[in-house]
Amino acid sequence: MQVQSMFFKQRASEKLDDALLQGNMRKAKGKFVDGRAKAVAEFGVWEEVRSHAAKVRDRALANLDAYLLEFEANATRRGAVVHWAETAEEACAIIVGIARDNGVRKAAKSKSMVSEEVNLNEALEAAGVEVIETDLGEYILQLAHEPPSHIVAPAVHKSKEQVAELFVKAHGKPRLTEIPAMTREAREALRGHFLGADMGISGSNFVIAETGTTLTVTNEGNADMVTTLPRIHVVITGIEKVIGTLEDFATLIRLLPRSAIGQTVTNYLTLTTGLKMPDEADGPEQMHIVLVDAGRTKLVGGPMQEMLRCIRCGACMNHCPVYQNVGGHAYGWVYPGPMGSILTPVYVGLENAGDLPNAATFCHECAVACPVKIPLPELMRKLREQQFDRRLRPWPERLAIAAWAFAVRRPALYAFLSGIGARVAKWMGGREGLIHSLPGLDGWTKGRDMPAPAGRTFRELYRQRALERR
């Protein structure tokens, strides 16, 4: 996916004016937020398991090298081939190579955000492989030629009616109005692709070191088709997804679906360990696991390492009031919302995504919702510190902060300036006490008045009171 994050402000502005999107986002928000709240309340020991899960992820990251090698050894023992991709381009080259070597003409994919991150579909299509997205949301977006706007519910920005329109064009059948009928139609369209594909491509929510297992957490069952029906199964995932044990997985899976959509457990939860065994009826003849770095190791051992705990549940974006209002496309890359506001600048460069760490009020809803306790606001602040130190913010902003910093450390000067400011601003507010426009602060005054100050500072009035009392 091409990075468009440098245009966040402009794109966000367009999304705020998109009435259809606003309606769709409003509907989704209730479902995600209320659903999670209910699941968490029913769970009873949420905070305890959450703390444990954070430790599980931290232990995995502390032993990343050892766990990855253990995973490789165990997966290899079960007949899979493990590939290491340092960059996005390498990941694509590996998978295109597998497709070429095996004469693959069609690949059926289940949802994988890492594949979006590395632009896998484009690479395969350029090599002459037809790629079919089989996750319903991803399928809809493939028909619409759009990137996902959410990491769990990729087509959350679309309404039922918009999807119906796309299906009429793609399937050439009468327009449907009910979601179950639309799902049935998509299933019929996809069934042939599962059977006809030479290659199945899936992500993996975690990879388990002690067993060499990859796994998918889904609600549609498409991933199970993708991982068992085609003769070649390719798994693509990030190196940070490794965890130590099945026990660790048991902890994390209690949190993932609950955080994502308030589900106790997803409809399908499939652990795949190696190839089809001689006594097994189903499964691929070849299994390739592509472990992608693409910037992840840069975070290990550094101030942003906690971000690698992320289990991709989407709770942070679901609870983010900025995301709720602008949707995922505004963020301009694969990962939106708070987690994306950290991952995007880290992976594609702070200079290409300068507004993202600033697209937060630090309301802390994301930090409260995160099932693995990633301090998302603190990490965004660290990126702001890097911007500050590297002078990446626009000069008027830097000048304003420098001027403020100068005055605020000099109480006498500050008292003098604030005294003048209070008087001037009161005068500007006129009889109704409202300032309608302020030079340099139009970000505020375009949509809001600035209530004018009372005219004299607390400091002055307090001193006066003290004198009167004497």
């Binding site: 009031p321 900025v322 009020t361 309301c363 602040r381 510190e385 911007q387 500050f388 910093a405 809001r448």
Partner: protein, 239 residues
């Protein structure tokens, strides 16, 4: 009991009445209140803009100004979060003066918490007839646990509280966010104002002036000249 009042820069500049309301409440409860005249700001605007050094310099300035006090009280959850949480958990981690900031954090209270949890007031001077709705500011709520305290105090003053939908959702202020990403900020504020209007309350009350100026600015711009926008200290002090 010597209580230092941290006025906050916004109250000093824009709404001194809130500072005097806090003063009245504290003095009324028998506290000896001192107001260091050299105080300016807690440093949060610098901190959230990535200016770590300026945030630390200002935190040290605040520390020096309130060193002699038994308690420090601020009519703001946001500034209190800066001095109680940011200093201890982040800014001075690994620094020699961390213990001093831990001591400052331990004696620092947001106003409603101080009145309810330390002074345990059971009466307030203010009388308020009518219905209010309360906006929970993010830092106070999620960093400090300010939730029931201001409501309890408002009810003590006779106010009826009509809870709005999404009272805990951010109003979109976010300090410099409200200017840097003004359009998004305005939309978040409009969502908040919708919730406020739906309650039919005559006043929206909160505990952080930044949020209140934001909400007031949007209400007025959209033609609402009537809904009062008040800090809880003003209501319960009867100022």
């Amino acid at each position: 009991m010597k209580v230092g009042l941290f006025v906050t820069c916004l109250v000093d500049l824009s709404r001194p009445g809130i500072g005097f309301a806090a003063l009245k409440l504290l003095e009324g409860a028998g506290c000896e209140v001192v107001v260091p005249q050299s105080q300016t700001c807690c440093g949060q605007p610098g901190y959230n803009s990535g200016g770590r050094d300026i945030a630390k310099a200002l935190a040290r300035k605040v520390l020096a100004e309130f060193r002699d006090c038994d308690y420090v009280v601020a009519p703001s959850g946001s500034c209190s979060g800066q001095m109680k949480v940011a200093t201890v958990h982040d800014l001075f981690q690994g620094e020699p003066d961390l213990p001093e900031f831990e001591a400052l954090a331990a004696k620092w209270y947001e106003l409603s918490q101080f009145l309810v949890e330390v002074l345990k007031v059971d009466a307030v001077p203010g009388k308020f007839e009518g219905t209010v709705t309360y906006h929970d500011s993010c830092s106070g709520l999620r960093e400090l646990g300010v939730k029931m305290q201001p409501r309890y105090l408002l009810q003590m003053a006779g106010a009826r509280i009509a809870e709005m939908e999404g009272a805990e959702r951010c109003c979109g202020f976010g300090g410099t966010f409200s200017i840097k990403l003004g359009e998004i900020s305005t939309r978040m504020c409009e969502n908040k104002c919708e919730s406020i209007r739906a309650t039919g309350a005559g006043a929206i009350v909160g505990g952080d002036l930044g949020c209140l100026l934001n909400i007031e600015g949007r209400l007025r711009r959209t033609g609402d000249k009537d809904t009062k926008v008040l800090h809880f200290a003003q209501v319960i002090a009867g100022e």
